[in-house]
């Protein structure tokens, strides 16, 4: 069954992606990520000396500040901060610089659906731009479930509001390796089969959820390619960020 999406995409199509790194001068790392009309700007400062009171000083810690486009910071923003922080903590190698804080600041430029995945992608690109050591990259995507049971990827804001349920999935990026496949598996399972974060809104059955997961995984391989190509070092940019 075909559902006509307002912008003419089919259910498996993502909106046009665009990513630019190194957009800010003072920040150590910065990236702007846009998926269709949703655009997010992320900046990274760090590592800075010291950790906050309730953080473990034996490890590095990640601090996330979410700035909405307009209005006061409320519970929604705090929730996004928490999800983003936990996601980024799982991809950063925390043992390299103990007792330091890396700050990630996210500024929403425009929200047209799939805001949290866009922010996660932007933060990941900004962390790479800042040179923070990461285990692997994180690729985030939003899958929504229509009443008919059809799974659609990357909804716009209007679509998100109409759907029965939607889920934000964050998966590790696909591995491009010359080594044979067995050596990249963790505990017998492929690393790329893992799931870093999943946030659901609305009610969906277990089968629908697994279906969303499958579709999300298929889409993230394309996004990983895009990300990998985009993160190639840029030849003409200057890299001095002292002061």
């Amino acid at each position: 069954m075909e559902i006509d999406r307002a912008d003419g995409r089919n259910p498996n199509q993502l909106r046009p992606l665009s990513c630019s790194r190194g957009v800010l001068n003072r920040a150590h790392g910065s990236a702007s990520w846009a998926q269709g009309n949703t655009q997010v700007l992320a900046a990274v400062y760090g590592p800075k000396a010291g950790t906050k009171k309730n953080e473990n000083p034996e490890k590095a810690s990640v601090e996330v500040i979410w700035k909405p486009k307009t209005g006061q910071i409320g519970k929604q923003e705090k929730e996004y901060e928490m999800v983003l922080k936990r996601t980024l903590q799982s991809i950063c190698i925390l043992t390299i610089h103990p007792n330091t804080t890396t700050s990630v600041i996210v500024q929403v430029v425009h929200d047209d659906g799939a805001l949290l995945p866009c922010a996660i992608n932007a933060s990941c690109a900004a962390l790479v731009d800042a040179g923070i050591p990461l285990k692997h990259l994180a690729v985030a995507i939003c899958c929504c479930l229509a009443d008919s049971g059809l799974v659609m990827l990357d909804p716009t804001k209007l679509e998100e509001e109409k759907m029965k349920a939607f889920v934000y999935l964050v998966l590790p990026n696909s591995i491009l390796s010359v080594l044979p496949e067995e050596s990249s598996s963790v505990k017998g399972e492929q690393m790329e089969q893992g799931l870093i974060t999943s946030v659901t809104h609305g009610v969906m059955s277990v089968d629908d959820y697994l279906h969303c997961l499958e579709r999300g995984r298929a889409a993230t391989s394309k996004m990983s390619d895009f990300l990998r190509r985009n993160l190639q070092p840029q030849l003409s940019s200057d890299s001095s960020k002292a002061g």
Binding site: K48, T70, Q107
Partner: protein, 376 residues
Amino acid sequence: MEQRLANTWRMTVNEKKFIESALVSGLRVDGRNLYDYRKLSINFGKEDGSAEVHLGQTRVMGIATSQLVQPYRDRPNEGTLSIFTEFSPMADPSFEPGRPGEFAVELGRVIDRGLRESRAVDTESLCVLAGKLVWAIRIDLHILDNGGNLVDAANVAALAALSTFRRPECSLGGENGQEVIVHPPEAREPLPLIIHHLPIAVTFAFFSDESTLVVDPTHQEEAVMAGRMTATLNTNGDICAIQKAGGEGVPQSVIMHCLRIAATKAADITVKIRDTVEAYNTERALQKIKRHSAPVALDVSGTVPNVRKNQVKSEDQREVSGSVGTQVEKLKPMNERKNSDQSNDIEGKVVTKSLEQGGTNSKDGNPRSFIGGPSS
């Protein structure tokens, strides 16, 4: 928290001395003349009322939104304008999240005085029901990158956001004309604000050597300067606000000299703002024509994917032209791409035909305005 202070950027003595001695001989570190502004560029976002200003390395985003509220008791016929400045921690490592510091408050107040107290925005036209409902315009200024001279950049961002902002049209209805109906933008075209004049802020930095002053200091010059002054003026020759908060004492003649310089700078910046806003408005009008003619084209040409592809294509072009160093990728299956080649051919043929004929009848009966739009 003391550890946080250890992370702030401090200027070395060498850098300070270098900047000061260069200024004595009239040289600035970035090669500008003493009274030159850095390159100012204004980009608009996808929504009405969102603008991003680049002044050299300084980057400020301004967003204007509106809401219906009750008016103040002493001004029942006027709408309100409020400015919120966010010194985002991404702009500078020393900006802390949470309560705004004194500089943030000062910046907010300077822009507020320049805009509100000089009556740049007509607040009486924002009244819907006297004494009951008025429009409250809220401007959020997000400082994204602190490259120095935040006041001027933030001021331009606020003006650009206000100039392109559109508020929904509302009409009175109901039994006794007391009910307010707000029309969504699809139903009725939203209205722009009435702006009488553009108050432009020009900042000067004074240094310990008496006769040295520069316009538009960078953040390194700000770290070295001994005093600063911001003059907000408009092209009518009115001084809307002057802010000189402490710092080095400056003789009267220097102040008058500064005001004269500020007048010329304000004129330049006003022209720049007006030009970019006009360009944005024409593009917006063209977009509206395209959007409205799309349903007509659907019926006539009969193929749905072509029309939508054109729209998406032109959005892409805007994206590419608007940003620097980006990679725009479309993840579409192969058959869609074939369709797009077809649509390009059809479009090409129709364009040449309409140019040749120059009349209102083109091949498929598509309205000329659709073909002549930005996608061609």
